[in-house]
Every structure is written in C-alpha cells, then in structure tokens.
C-alpha cells in the first residue's frame, strides 16, 4: 500500500522535539530536527551566500524525512483508498446484479418455451414427442438440469442433477405446463442453469477493481509525493536552512526556484523572508558600524585624553616661563594682561621686567599656535633672557635686532635650504619712570595708545623677526619715543586680539573695533578693562570659533609715580 521510501507511521517514529504543549516555543533548529532536516550538510550553504534552488535535493532524496509529507499522505490516503474501493465494489455489484437478472430471465424464457412445447393433454404418457425438445436444452453451456413433473408431482423426465436447496451457483426457474382446456396446470418444468461463469466474471471484475484502485492510489501517492517535495518541501527546506543561517547572523537569502509567482504562497513567503533578512542585515550592519565607531571613539577619547594631559603639563611649563603680572608695579606702571592661548599652550608670549628701574614690556606672537607655537616661545624667552641679562641691551631696536638674529641662528635659517620658515611678530616698550618716556620698537606689531577718547596706533616695521631672508635683506626699524601721561593707556596686542571673526556682517573686528571697546572702558582699572575686553570679544565672535592665540598687555603710568 505504501511505496518504498515512504514508511508507515509505525516505521518512522519521528521524535517530536517539542510538543505544542509544555515544551515551550520551538526554535527553528528544533523544528528542523522534527521535520527531519538535521542531517542537512552545512557545506552546501557555505558554498555561497544564496541557497540555490535544488541544491538540497540530493541530500534530501530517499530519506524518511518528510513528516509533513507523511502527515498529508496518512490523512488523505485512507480516504482516497476507501472511496476508490467502495466505488469499484459498487460498480461490480451493479454489474453482478444485472447479470444475475439477465440469467434469471433467460432461464425463465427457456423454461417457458420448453414448457409450452411439452404441454398437451397426454404429455406425461408420450415422452418421445418432446424428448428432443427437452434434450435441446442441454446444448446451452450453462445448462445443469431439467425436471418435468406431472400435476401430481411425480417426475416424468429428468436430465442432469437438480441441486437441492438454494445454491449461489445456480439459477433455478420453474414453468407450468398449462392447457387452455384445463384450469390447473398439467405439470411443471424446473430448469437449473449454472451461474458459475457469472461468478467468475464478478471475481475477475472485483480483482480488476482492486488492482485499478491500487494503481490509482500508487499514482496518486507518487504524484503527490513528488509535487509536495518539489513545490513545498524543497522551498521550505531552503527557507528553514536560511533561517538557521540567519539565526547565526549569516545573512543568506533564498531564491525562488524559477521565476517568482505572486500566486505561490511559498514564493511570497520567500520574498518576504529575503526582505526581512535584508532589513536585519542592514540593522546588524548599522549596529556593527556603531559599535566600531564607539570603539574608535573610545580609543580616540583615550588618545585625546593622553594628549591633553600632556599639553596640560606643557601649559604648566609655559606658564612658569611667563613673568609675574605685578613685576612692573615697582617701576610705576599699572599693568593688565590678557594671555589666552587657542589650544591650552600657544605661540603668544609676553615679558614684563623691572631692570635697573626700567620697565621692559615685550609682546611676541610666534608663528603657529598650540605646541609648535609654544616651542618658539621658549626660544624667544631664552633669547630675551640673554639679550637683557647677558648682553644688557636696553635699546628697543637693538633688542629686536638681536632677537631677530638669535632666533634665526636658533632655527638655522641663515644657510640655504632652511627647514624652518618660522618667526615672530614682536613689540617692545622700554619705560623710563625718571623721564616719563616710553621707547617703542615693533616688528609686525603696533603700539596702541588711548588718550581722552582718541586712539593712536604706532605701527612698527611691517615684517616680523626670524624667517629666512633673501640675500641682502636686513631688519630695519626705527625707535619711537612717546612722552607719557597718566591719562594715556598703552596697549601691545597680538593679531589674535584684533582678528576676531564675527559680528552681523561676519567681518574681522580689527584694530578700530578693539580700540572702540577699550575706549569705552578707558577710565576703568586695567584688570577690569582686560576682563571687559575678553567678554566683548566673545560677544562679537558669537558662534564663530576663535582663530588664534590672544595676548594683550595694557599699561599706564601710576599718577603718583610720574615726575612732578
């Protein structure tokens, strides 16, 4: 009944991995196991990211895997079997009844014909008259027996063996011998014909029906099996294997066998699955990238932390090189300082010192900012120390000239092919309390003074110090001597102060802008002025970032210190 390779329910004790009740939700691998897919070789799927249709067929063939198929067969098969069998038996039975009826009628006719031939008043005494007639009945191959009885029931003639009782093999019919003159029959004829051939026919027909139904069922089973495998199980298997891969974050998709058919539920499911995998893959990719980004960010933060720690340390060193803000009080100057590197440390530098009663004020803006700028400030600090203390120069132009040559020697900018293209803008003021005069010399830096609402800007030389020079180029600048009063405040500032990008028109603030801010506060203490300036600059910038280091040194004679 069951074709080979299709075991019956008893022969295939499928282990139910998790029943619907009590075992919790099934994982897809459980389902795979339950469905008999556990032996699927993974190598097939490892061959490529996409499960090709038919790639699993070979491994699935000939295995008692398909419990879904079995369930279908076991449910449908008995119904089909019973229906076919009953139909066939019904047909056979109808045929058989028809045949029996025909036989009976034939027997009736034969009996009636013979009886009418025999019937005459003296028939029982003259058997020779109808003997041939009766014997002719034996020519019928189905003939078994005939008995003629007279009215009293005595046997007049008998041919063959009349069976006793009812027999399924025989059709027995009786006819009366009647005469028109007599009201009662004058005798009876009983004819028995064999129905054996009929039964043989019926048996043959029954066997035929059985065989037919078997063949029919076999064909049905095989067709169903093949189709379920090809159109349901194989795609489902691909889908399940792909799901198992996806469970392990291996983003395989499934291809529907031939072309996509929107009417095919499995194709639709496969497509939906592929879309889901695509979505998951994208999500997973994003998650992974985010994770990588977070890792990279953490590393960067750590690296940045180290660098900032190191630069913080550098700031301590740079700050320690800067002079005391109150160094010039003893020379009769009030001083306010704004020193704000762009990046913790910077290339701006200032020098305040009382040497032999002279107030020395230097502001320098070295190229670059941050660490490179800070390196240069150390060179400048060392050079200034030597210039002022070893060489004891007190003339501002001489100081600048000496600083220029020392920086260029330090940075080896004298020879050809100098690596360094660095230098500095520098302004120096030497304040003499005795004469109340200020001697100024600048290189790329100017001296700004504010007196009673007027601003004066004394520009130094256009070029800075340092930098490789063209042949024959020498640093030249003139000294400017300014007579001071208690009403005049002087400012030395780097371009980081004036080059503030911002404002409504997004312009540089410029010297004029800075001077306006300072003028508005000209009667304040210099400390307050500097703080106010810093705030005003921040307000001007708004959302714009600062571009450079900022240094401003403001100073003015303390009235009591000026000569009377």
């Amino acid at each position: 009944m069951i074709p080979e390779g299709m075991p019956s329910a008893e022969a295939a004790p499928v282990r139910r991995g998790g029943s619907l009740r009590g075992a919790g939700p099934r994982r897809s691998s459980d389902f795979l196991e339950a469905a008999g897919f556990t032996d699927m070789p993974l190598a097939e799927s490892a061959a490529g990211p996409t499960m090709r249709p038919g790639s699993l067929r070979g491994s699935a063939r000939g295995r008692d895997l398909d419990s879904l198929a079995h369930t279908l067969f076991l449910r449908i098969y008995p119904v089909i079997a019973v229906v076919v069998l009953v139909t066939q038996i019904g047909i056979a039975w109808v045929n058989y009844s028809d045949q029996i009826r025909l036989y009976t009628e034939r027997a009736k006719l034969l009996a009636a014909l013979t009886a009418s031939a025999v019937a005459r008043p003296d028939w029982s005494t003259r058997p020779e008259i109808y003997r041939h007639q009766v014997q002719a009945l034996t020519l019928d191959p189905a003939f078994r027996a005939v008995v003629l009885r007279n009215a009293a029931g005595a046997v007049v003639m008998s041919l063959g063996d009349m069976p006793r009782g009812r027999s399924w093999d025989m059709v027995v019919e009786q006819a009366d011998l009647s005469l028109p003159s007599e009201t009662k029959p004058v005798g009876h004829l009983t004819l028995a014909i064999s129905a054996e051939a009929l039964r043989g026919n019926a048996e043959k027909q029954a066997i035929l029906a059985l065989v037919t139904s078997l063949i029919l069922m076999l064909a049905f089973v095989l067709t169903l099996h093949a189709n379920v495998r090809a159109h349901v199980l194989a795609p489902l298997k691909r889908l399940l294997l792909a799901m198992r891969e996806v469970e392990h974050k291996n983003w395989v998709t499934v291809e529907s066998g031939a072309r996509f058919r929107a009417s095919n539920e499995i194709d639709v499911i496969s497509q939906a699955f592929n879309r889901m995998v695509e979505g998951l893959r994208t999500g997973d990719e994003a998650k992974r990238l985010l994770q990588e980004l977070e890792t990279a960010h953490a590393k960067l933060a750590e690296a940045n932390g180290l660098v900032m720690e190191s630069i913080g340390y550098a700031r301590r060193i740079q700050s320690s090189v800067l002079p005391d803000r109150a160094a010039l009080v003893s020379t009769g100057l009030e001083v306010g300082v704004l020193w704000e590197p762009l990046h913790v440390v910077g290339g701006d530098y200032f020098w305040l010192e009382n040497i032999d009663g002279l107030g020395i004020i230097v502001v320098a803006d070295c190229t670059g900012h941050g660490v490179p700028g800070a390196f240069l400030t150390l060179i400048v600090a060392t050079a200034l120390d030597r210039i002022l203390h070893e060489r004891r120069l007190r003339d501002p132009v001489e100081v600048l000239r000496a600083l220029d040559s020392m920086v260029r020697v330090q940075l080896r900018q004298d020879g050809r092919g100098a690596v360094s293209d660095d230098g500095l803008d520098c302004g120096i003021c030497i304040w003499d309390r005795q004469t109340a005069t200020l001697r100024f010399a600048g290189a790329g830096l100017s001296l700004t003074s504010v007196t009673d609402g007027t601003v004066t800007r004394i520009r130094g030389a256009k070029n800075g110090l340092g930098y490789p020079r063209r042949a024959g180029e020498i640093f030249a600048v003139d000294e400017i001597v300014v007579q001071t009063s208690a009403e005049t405040t002087f400012y030395l500032m780097t371009d980081g102060i004036t080059d503030q990008m911002g404002g409504e028109r997004r312009r540089l603030l410029g010297h004029r802008g800075v001077a306006d801010i300072l003028m508005a506060r000209s009667h304040d203490g210099l400390g307050d002025q500097v703080a106010a300036l810093q705030q005003a600059l921040a307000d001007y910038r708004g959302s714009e970032a600062r571009r450079d280091d900022m240094t401003l040194v403001a100073f003015r004679p303390i009235p009591q210190s000026l000569p009377a």
């Binding site: 803006d365 190229t367 803008d425 371009d495 004036t498 540089l508 410029g510």
Partner: protein, 128 residues
C-alpha cells in the same frame, strides 16, 4: 598641471589655479594647521608655471576674509615669484579683494602692495 582646483574648507580657501588661462584665484579663509603643507604644492606649481617663460598675462585674485600669520608668509612666498616674473616683463596683476569696511584685510593688502614695484597690485573693495 594645467589647473589646480581645491574646494574651500573651514580652515583653507578655495583654490582655482587655471594656468592655461593665466588666472589664479584664492578665496575664503586661511588658517590651516600647517600652512607650509597647504601652500607648498601651490608654490611648486606656480614656480613650475612661471619657469615656462611664456609672456601671457597673469591675474592673481586673492579674496580672504581672514588669514593667519603663517598664511600671510605663504602668500608672500606666492607673490615673490610673481613680482620676479613682472620684473622680467611679464604682465602680472594682483587683485586684492576686501569686504567694504574691513580695515584689517585692506591694511594687510596695502602692506603687501608695498612689496610690489613691477606687478600691478589692485585693491578691490567688495560690497555685499
């Protein structure tokens, strides 16, 4: 080497050096972390172009809203070979653009202008 085109960044200007037309332009802001690294290749290209000893006129347009002192130095380095070329007879025009009322940039332009005696240096005030 016919053209050099670089888009502007937050810290560096847009560069349009069209050597074929003798038209060089530099627009935006300039305060790169390493000015020498940014301007070095431009200077090389300019020198190479001037070494060809053609006599086509050159126009160099500079419109910077802000530049730091390293960039000023780099600009000077770009201007010097142009001035040298002008001294040798090549028509060179520098156009210095500054926004109206921007004294800082105007003043910087005037400072640069003082270094030119052969090349033509034009100050162009731009109104927004």
């Amino acid at each position: 080497m016919d053209t050099i085109s670089l888009p502007a960044t937050e810290r560096s200007p847009r560069i349009d050096f069209d050597f074929g037309r003798g038209h060089l332009a530099l627009r935006g802001e300039s305060y790169p972390e390493d000015a020498a690294a940014f301007y070095g290749p431009l200077l090389q290209a300019l020198r190479g172009y001037l070494a060809e000893a053609a006599t086509d006129p050159i126009v160099f347009e500079v419109g910077l809203a802000y530049f730091n002192s390293s960039s000023a130095k780099a600009l000077m380095n770009l201007f010097m070979p142009l001035e040298d070329a002008a001294a040798e007879g090549r028509p060179v025009t520098i156009r210095w653009f500054y926004a109206d009322g921007d004294e800082t940039i105007a003043e910087a332009g005037e400072d640069f202008a003082a270094d030119f005696s052969h090349a033509r240096f034009e100050m162009v005030e731009e109104f927004a």
